[in-house]
Amino acid sequence: MTTVWPQLEPLLPRVQKPARYIGCEDGAKAKLPDPKLVSWCFTYPDTYEVGLPNQGLQILYEIINERPDARADRSYAPWTDLEELMRSHGVPLFSVEHHTPCNEFDVIAFNLSAELTYTNLLNCVDLAGVPVRTADRDDSHPLIMAGGHCTYNPEPLADYLDAVVLGDGEEVVGEITDVLVKHRSQPNASRADLLVALAQIESVYVPSLYEVTYDGPSVAAITPIGTEAQSAPSEIEKRTVADLADWPYPKQQLAPLTEVVHDRLNVEVFRGCTRGCRFCQAGMITRPVRERPAEQVRTMVAEGLERTGYDEVALTSLSTADFSDIADVVTDIIDDGDKADKGPVSVSLPSLRVDAFGVGIATQLQRAKRTGLTFAPEAGTWRMRQIINKLIREEDLYEAVDAAFANGWIRVKLYFLIGLPSETDEDTLGIAELAKNCVAIGKKYNNRASVTASVGGFVPKPFTPFQWFGQNTQEELQRKVDLLRDATKKMRGVNLKWHDPKATLAEGIASRGDRRIGPVIEQVWRNGGTFQEWSEHFNLDLWLDAMADHGLTVEDAVYRHRTEAEFLPWEHLSAGLHKDFLWQDWQDSLAEVGLEDCRWTPCYDCGACTGYGIEHVVASAKPPAGGSQGTGQDLASGGAVPVVLLTSSERQSATA
């Protein structure tokens, strides 16, 4: 068993936050390195504080460690100070459990949740002593894999990743392990054979088995290469776990020794969202809605709090207030907390619905500590919100904000996007207007009331109806930020925050590009561009220089609108959504036509259920109080395709 701890330990007093590198979390598995076991190193390509709470990695880490024939450790990107020392002292990237060098694992598997971490991924692979390009690796090297939301367009990293997993990883990670176990028993099988075997697993994409041809700025085709015996599928479908009840993970959430983001117990209450916000990639790619049974949520919360000693639990999902009978679930959790009598417990919802119902729940929840309240109206005018299908009326927002201030909050945060399709200056300035009106409401209750409007630049993501839309230029986004700065300067109580339009451009390059973007990312990394998610390290010039050096333009890669006929760089992958559904939704959007939530209305046959023979799993077929979107608006409904709506209990009796 190799460990770099003796070399690492003397370096730690010389770096910031050395606790990032020691592991020792409550809940960590100490399965000792054993050459007989298939080994995974789950790696988050950003700092420990950002990566440790990642639930996806924690789930897979547990699933693998429960297997008798496999083991898993974790690793994170070292901060630049330690990286420098590691390079000068010859210390490779290591896992935090046993400080094992990462290149001693069978697989280094990355979670990709943000495109600006791509250069960190390359840096981690390089620090592990593994060639960054797939083509340069041989049998002695670990497989480099990735999963997570960004892998719905893995093409920019296609030449760097041996295999990519699309969709929910719970089942696939086991199937990959089975293939790896089998591969070990075949001493004559090569790495190439292994890659072909992996490509046979549903939802596993092996980029090196495909050939890409180009047609000017766009892709002409992506086709499997190789002989029939070594075939890879022409289309790779995402994986969807049908019922979260079967996967009560993480069973032992890691409780770190040092402070991390989201430092609390996190319990995922449902996956998927069908509200149909057109800008939201997470909602589109995770359909349909799969709720965890309320009883299981309750047990996971009670056991988790008991085991970790946390005083806060977050009920996570894309829109937790939509969870069936959320009010009862929350009441039960609080009652359980009172019964356990271990001090006040606060329950938080990562995103609130914009209505008084949401605030009512928040008030009930935040007993142990009162954090800020955040709403996401996303756009400043009703017209714009119709286009993005975020159907919140101004009255809904004001009602919610009024309830918040009336209940003692004095700071409210509002999230908005700029650079949305067909946005006018009136729409942009609507953001300032809304914020101002919210402050006025707050002043009725407290003179110190303030509202933070947080504004991000919109990046049209793959597998959304907006995937054809050309991203706003950096200059245009900056102009809109400036408009808002001028407008809010004199507004007392309005605090404007904005995301750097330069970073939005780089994110566009990494998320909308094809394989030709790979060398750009590699060059940014080689020129020192790690931690591009961090403003102190982000450098757009590195990206633009690399684009120019490779004869590419941001116009072609990011800014141009794409046509219905164009073959998109992710066209060989499937998030379950029919292309014609997305196109129709894009057309509806421009016609300002809304689309209701299919949880409570007939199905539109987007493909996410109908294509895989699965359904929504919800405990209640009734929409939550306040109606669809909490507005009660009459919306045009789509072409109805009846699907059976199974409740969790019906589902159980059906399978029993």
């Binding site: 606790a19 020792c24 409550d26 040092t258 008991e306 001090g343 990562p350 300067k489 925050k497 403003s535």
Partner: protein, 286 residues
């Protein structure tokens, strides 16, 4: 966008984060205090003082002790620590006072506490404390540090310490609260002894004041002309209080911890070292 967003872009009209305090509606109730002594060795030495506090908060909840909470919108458990231990230093003598709403049975509690804490943090003793006892922050006047200096012989080390102790004045530039000032730090060095050889160098025990001109081990090493890469393990072995002119530890261990190697240095410095009984008297332990 989510609440985990990293800083980027810009901000105008920033306002301070604050929440109104709820008035204290509860009448003053009976309060009980316990004092916890713990050690910190190994990998956990790399966590910060703040991290240690969070771990104790979580451990207290796991144990279900009746901890008193502050009032207000964000109630916090009422814990108070002694002097912060710098990241990277080990310790055999850390302290924590906890306010409770009812009396608890101390039997076996230290062990249960240790079990609820990460590896490397061991709760060595817990005593009951008088409500009126001086707080750790107020009462601690000095600490003893066990410091390993790498690549140095006993003779070299003895020469250095002897000349330092022989000096009547040691004017030194020190930065405090952002200001550089020259002060005589000699009074802050209460004693230095060479303990003996270690595998890679020599160990000293340094008795340093924490009051007025407090001195940190790293500052002492600079003063002794020791290079940063010669700095080996540094361990706090004792914290001393001054109660009515008598020096004593906030809690004396009933059995010396195995790591407590420097317990017997400076025998003359603290006359009353058999202070189990003394601590009992001082804190009114029944």
């Amino acid at each position: 966008m989510s609440e985990g967003d990293k800083p980027s872009g810009g901000e105008v009209n920033a306002q301070p984060e604050d929440e109104p305090k709820k008035p204290n509606l509860h009448a003053q109730r009976d309060r009980f205090f316990i004092r916890v002594r713990f050690s910190e060795f190994g990998k956990v030495r790399f966590i910060s003082h703040r991290d240690v506090a969070r771990l104790f908060e979580r451990a207290l909840r796991k144990l279900g002790l009746p901890v008193a909470y502050s009032e207000g919108f964000s109630p916090r458990p009422k814990l108070s620590f002694g002097l912060a231990l710098s990241v990277g230093y080990e310790s055999d003598a850390e302290y924590l006072d906890v306010e409770l709403t009812e009396k608890v049975d101390l039997k076996g509690l230290a062990q249960r506490f240790t079990d609820a804490m990460p590896n490397g943090i061991t709760v060595t003793e817990i005593i009951e404390l008088d409500a009126g006892a001086a707080s750790l922050q107020q009462a601690i006047v000095s600490c003893i540090w066990h410091i390993e200096v790498l690549g140095m012989s006993i003779a070299e080390m003895e020469a250095i310490t002897a000349s330092t102790m022989a000096a009547t004045e040691l004017p030194t530039e020190r930065v405090r609260k952002g200001k550089t000032k020259v002060s005589d730090v000699r009074p802050s060095i209460l004693g230095i002894e060479v303990v003996g050889p270690t595998e890679n160098g020599v160990a000293i025990a340094a008795h340093l004041a924490t009051e007025q001109l407090s001195m940190r081990p790293s500052e002492l090493l600079v003063l002794l002309g020791i290079e940063p890469d010669q700095e080996g393990r540094i361990t706090r072995t004792h914290q001393w209080m001054n109660l009515d002119g008598e020096r004593c530890e906030p809690i004396c261990l009933s059995e010396p911890s195995s790591k407590n190697e420097t317990r017997d240095v400076f025998p003359g410095a603290f006359e009353s070292t058999d202070s189990d009984t003394q601590a009992d008297e001082l804190h009114g332990v029944s």
